[in-house]
Each structure stands twice: as structure tokens, then as C-alpha cells.
Symmetry: C2
Subunit: 134 residues, 2 copies
DNA sequence: TTGAAATCCGACTTCAGGAGTCCGATATTG
DNA sequence: CAATATCGGACTCCTGAAGTCGGATTTCAA
């Protein structure tokens, strides 16, 4: 409960790895996977999503791989999660799926109070950058 | 992802309901379930756990039910979660299940940095009480 | 004393989503 | 052309959340 997914963890590890090396250096998914004992196919997918979002740059073919696409200091954990999970970390189902998703939406008395927790949570993830986890 | 479970939500709703009435007043699981359109059996289990932990008081038999067992101002969301889920809200698997639970524990480079997030998360849930969600 | 009303407890089913795998297509270099 | 990389989708496997069921126990009141 309340754990972030393996995909996110793998993504953060990979990003951190790139951030520790000179900007622009290229790493293949395979070598990253071997380095950290992470399943290759899974990590590859994560990197593909990050590439589509533009925070890493990908080059195909021989001598290809992934390189950091932007400044690690401006790269927040919140954005990384949102890209990989395709949604922000939300504390309640109805916040992301809408009123119809929860059967007790109308009679729920904690939805509004939880908004404050959600807000603090956003701040928490927004203020942490990739650079900070080095 | 990152949503708190229905059990926790139901528990919070029930506790809030009791906290809004004079201390010591008794409510049956059935009437609470009807009031908020929550599955009776599920809510009952949650209340039983809360009772075993002592934060609500239960009386069996006719005219029985549940009553608040302690001050809502001293009752934090963190404790409620811990009682219902039988564990604190942890951001990483290895934090709750130990080193052997994660196959990449040894090569993981984000475990320590995530500790700071975990700490902030604890504070977040610790400082919110049942009384505050009224 | 008996029955209704309530908690109590465990086992069970159902289902969605996370984790991981596989295969074929595409692009790039030498 | 061949080797090496990303790309993208479909697929399986399995855990855990959510909900259900049946029966035992306790208590009160008629
Ligand atoms: S409505 Fe209340 S219970 Fe349903 S998801 Fe939103 S917060 Fe949770
Ligand atoms: S070791 Fe790293 S990856 Fe494995 S659970 Fe702990 S934090 Fe997540």
C-alpha cells in the first residue's frame, strides 16, 4: 500500500545514473539493465515513455541509446511519475477517474478534507528533483 | 496508484461520523453502512479492527454497536491507516518487507534518497487528525 | 426463557492492475 | 548487408484489493 511502482523506481534509477555522468552521454537500455539487475524489456518500455515525453533523447541503431534530454535540476519526481504512470499520484480514486468511478461519491464526507492531503502530497513530489537524489 | 484503500476510506468516514456526535454515543455498523452506502460486511470488519486496537469501543448484543474510544483530536490518520492496513504507508516495498523482498536491493541507488520522501510522508499523515476532517 | 439484534471471525470468490515476457518491425552504423 | 539498437503491441502470470457468505457468540427485552 502506497508504494510507488517498479516502473517508476526503475525509471528513477536510470535517470539518476544518467544524471551522474556528463550531459549528453549515451547509455543503452541493455547496459543499464545489466548494471542494476533490472529486467531489460521493462526498463526499455519505461525509457521509451520518457523519450516520448522528451525528458530523455533516444537514438536508434548501432551505437544508439538514451541520453538525458533536459536539466536534472529541473526534472521533478512528480513529472517522472506522471509520465510513467500516465497520471499524477492521486490519493483518491475519484480525483483521477471522476465522480462516476466511486459508488459512494455523493455520500462521501472525506473527499474534501482529503484535498488538503493531496495538495501537500503534490508539493512533496514537486519539490524533489532528480539532481537531489544523487 | 498511490490511492488509499477503500477500507481506510470507509474507516475514516465512520470515525468522522462518530466524532461529529457526542462522545460515547453508540452506532451500529448496519446504520453506518446504510447512511453512507458502504458494504456492510466490509465496514464491519474495519470497525472490528479498530475495536481490537482500542480506538473505538464495541458492545455486542441488542442495542449494541460502536462508540468512539478516544479523543478525535489525538486520533491521527496515520494510526488509522496503520491499524486497518496493519502497516504504515510505505513508499518502497523494501521498507516494509525487508531487503529480501526486492531483487535489486543491493544495486538500488534510490533507496536512501527516498527515505526523505518517506519521512515527509509520515509527517503529513501524522499531523492530520480525525477532528480536522470534520 | 426464548428470540431478535448485534458483534465477531474465518473462509471464500471475483476482479483489476502490476510485473514481467515475447515477438516482430524499424532505424542506424560500419 | 549484417549487427545492434529502439519501438510497440500483445500476451501471461500472479498478487492483493474488494466484496461476499455462513456460522458462532453475546446481550437485552419481552
Ligand atoms: S468519493 Fe470519497 S470514497 Fe469515493 S474515492 Fe473519492 S474520496 Fe474515496
Ligand atoms: S530496494 Fe530500491 S527498488 Fe527495491 S524496493 Fe527498496 S527502493 Fe524500491
Amino acid at each position: 500500500m502506497f508504494q510507488l511502482s517498479k516502473k517508476v523506481e526503475y525509471g528513477l534509477i536510470a535517470l539518476r545514473h544518467m544524471a551522474m555522468h556528463p550531459m549528453g552521454q549515451v547509455f543503452t537500455a541493455k547496459e543499464l539493465a545489466r548494471e542494476y539487475d533490472v529486467p531489460y524489456e521493462l526498463l526499455a518500455k519505461v525509457l521509451q515513455k520518457l523519450a516520448r515525453a522528451g525528458i530523455v533523447h533516444s537514438t536508434q541503431g548501432v551505437r544508439g541509446g538514451y541520453a538525458l534530454g533536459s536539466d536534472p535540476r529541473a526534472m521533478t519526481v512528480a513529472t517522472v511519475i506522471q509520465i510513467i504512470e500516465e497520471e499524477k499520484p492521486m490519493i483518491a480514486e475519484c480525483y483521477v477517474e471522476g465522480p462516476d468511478s466511486c459508488s459512494i461519491f455523493d455520500s462521501c464526507t472525506i473527499r474534501k478534507p482529503l484535498g488538503k492531503v493531496q495538495r501537500d502530497l503534490n508539493i512533496l513530489f514537486d519539490k524533489m528533483t532528480i539532481h537531489q537524489i544523487i
